[in-house]
């Protein structure tokens, strides 16, 4: 049986020669590919064919990569399981009764199953790291501003980054080397990453590295996940690193802050889908507001409607200060906690996901429970930091991911630390 890792399977050849020649890459289906359907996992964009390439796609082609298809995803990136896709769920190749994580579930499943050598995902609140952890592969969420978002269909601009998924830390870092760097079509990009060699940092040398473990990230984790997490830290210690507990009280508010901000940005970003310039119009006539509302009822799935409505609510008169403004305060608090932690440690570690992969269908009925599963990944996006998820053992035969978070533009440090976990 197919894993349903791809929404569209079609091959786009790159240039003849480059650092990725001979490599096949799956591209998440919210990243624009010229002439190749880009659905965002939504019925709204079932027939949408971008007239241009995202910057990262141009870079892939220039680097000689062969794109083998558009990977399945939660609709518009909104989900932690890839089950909100309008094109059906993706199965986890490790255990097909389980979800691959999300929202970049198709990308991670394709790499884990060998259907692509490498993949691009996007990470707004953990959407690269979660599926990497659940499928037993490596995923990197770059520092905000390291990778151009030009051509990425926006969900929550202030939080999201495109990043690599690969079987090994070195391969993920090499793909990041290709896509990192400034782009005059994305004003939030920085010069960092222009001449990067992150792949060279995958040397496994953690002698003298200090690792901070926030107790808030470990408490409440599944027992088997926690055991695998501590075993990985002991292994790093045996290689010359040291770890100590740190406290980050702000992260207790991170899930609430993240969802208020992400939903608010989503409610604004997804206002563009009215079926006139692109997307399903439904052909409704009459009052134009009513025509758009009906087109959007048809085109969007439940989770997308839920987030648009909650975001609209959080920004509406009378509630803005209570929700959106407080969420921005919490975001500043999370940044401050990380800044303080990095005064004493080189990286911060946690289990990537507090739980093993869910059973298919297990989490669909309770959105709040699904949001809470993102507790360890969303603080990183709120603080604009880089983080990597690297496989760190198993629990009951299911993969466990170790998350290593670095300071701003500290990609080399997290690549180096993660490569030691593979030793």
């Amino acid at each position: 049986m197919s894993l349903n890792a791809f929404i569209t399977k079609e091959t786009l050849d790159g240039s003849d020669d480059g650092p990725l020649s001979g490599k096949t890459v799956a591209v998440k289906d919210n990243i624009s590919t010229e002439g190749l359907r880009t659905t965002c996992g939504s019925a709204m964009l079932e027939d949408y064919v971008p007239p241009y390439d995202a910057t990262v796609v141009e870079l892939l082609k220039d680097a000689g990569a062969t794109i083998v298809g558009k990977a399945n995803m939660d609709e518009f990136g909104m989900g932690t399981t890839t089950e909100t896709s309008a094109f059906g769920p993706t199965k986890n190749p490790v255990d097909e009764s389980r979800v691959p994580g999300g929202s970049s579930g198709g990308s991670a499943a394709a790499v884990a199953a060998g259907e692509a050598d490498l993949a691009l995902g996007t990470d707004t609140g953990g959407s690269i790291r979660c599926p990497a952890a659940f499928c037993g592969v490596v995923g990197i969420k770059p520092t905000y501003g390291l990778v151009s978002r030009y051509g990425l269909v926006a969900y929550a601009n202030s939080l999201e980054q495109i990043g690599p998924i690969a079987p090994t830390v070195e391969d993920a870092a090499a793909l990041l080397d290709v896509i990192a760097g400034p782009d005059d079509r994305d004003g939030t990009t920085r010069d960092a990453g222009a001449d990067s060699n992150y792949a060279a940092a995958a040397d496994g040398d953690v002698e003298g590295l200090t690792i901070g473990v926030p107790t808030e990230f470990v408490e409440g984790a599944d027992e088997g996940v926690e055991a695998a997490f501590w075993a990985a830290l002991d292994e790093l210690e045996a290689q010359g690193a040291e770890y100590r507990e740190v406290s980050m009280p702000s992260v207790e508010k991170a899930v609430a802050a993240y969802y208020v901000i992400a939903m608010s940005e989503a409610s604004s970003n997804l206002a563009r889908f009215d079926g006139v310039r692109y997307g399903k119009s439904g052909g409704y006539d009459g009052n134009w507001n009513e025509a758009f509302a009906r087109a959007r009822e048809d085109g969007f799935g439940s989770e997308v409607k839920r987030r648009i409505l909650l975001g609209t609510y959080a920004l509406s008169a009378g509630y803005h200060d209570k929700y959106y403004a407080k969420a921005q305060d919490a975001r500043a608090w999370v940044k401050q906690d990380f800044d303080e932690a990095f005064e004493d440690v080189d990286v911060v570690a946690s289990p990537t996901m507090p739980v093993p992969p869910f059973e298919l269908g297990e989490s669909l009925d309770d959105p709040l429970q699904m949001y809470l599963a993102d507790a360890n990944t969303v603080p990183v996006n709120l603080a604009n930091l880089p983080a990597i998820s690297v496989p760190a053992g198993e629990t009951d035969g299911l993969p466990v991911g170790l998350q290593l978070i670095g300071p701003k533009f500290g990609e080399e440090t997290i690549v180096r630390a993660a490569s030691a976990v593979e030793n």
Binding site: Y52, A271, G286, T312, Y313, A332, W333, Q336
Partner: protein
Amino acid sequence: MSDTPVDADEVRHVAELARVDLDEDEVEEFAAQFADILGYFDALDEVPEVDREDELVNVMRPDEVREGLTQEEALSNAAETEDGYFKGPRVS
């Protein structure tokens, strides 16, 4: 529980603001879920005031003409076009 009441009328009002039609089952389901989720968001009330140290700078560029999409490309995904324009729903 949330100190923010969420009932079916509130959900309908927000759906209207967001231009998303909902059927009655969805309205009932969302009202119950929103009470849970907004109740959870109430935890933000306990967030302390934090000095924001962001040094934000505007990133400017010259306002100059660049190559963009052709008219044909820009219209290529529209459900309806007329004389080189997007065609929206008829305004009654």
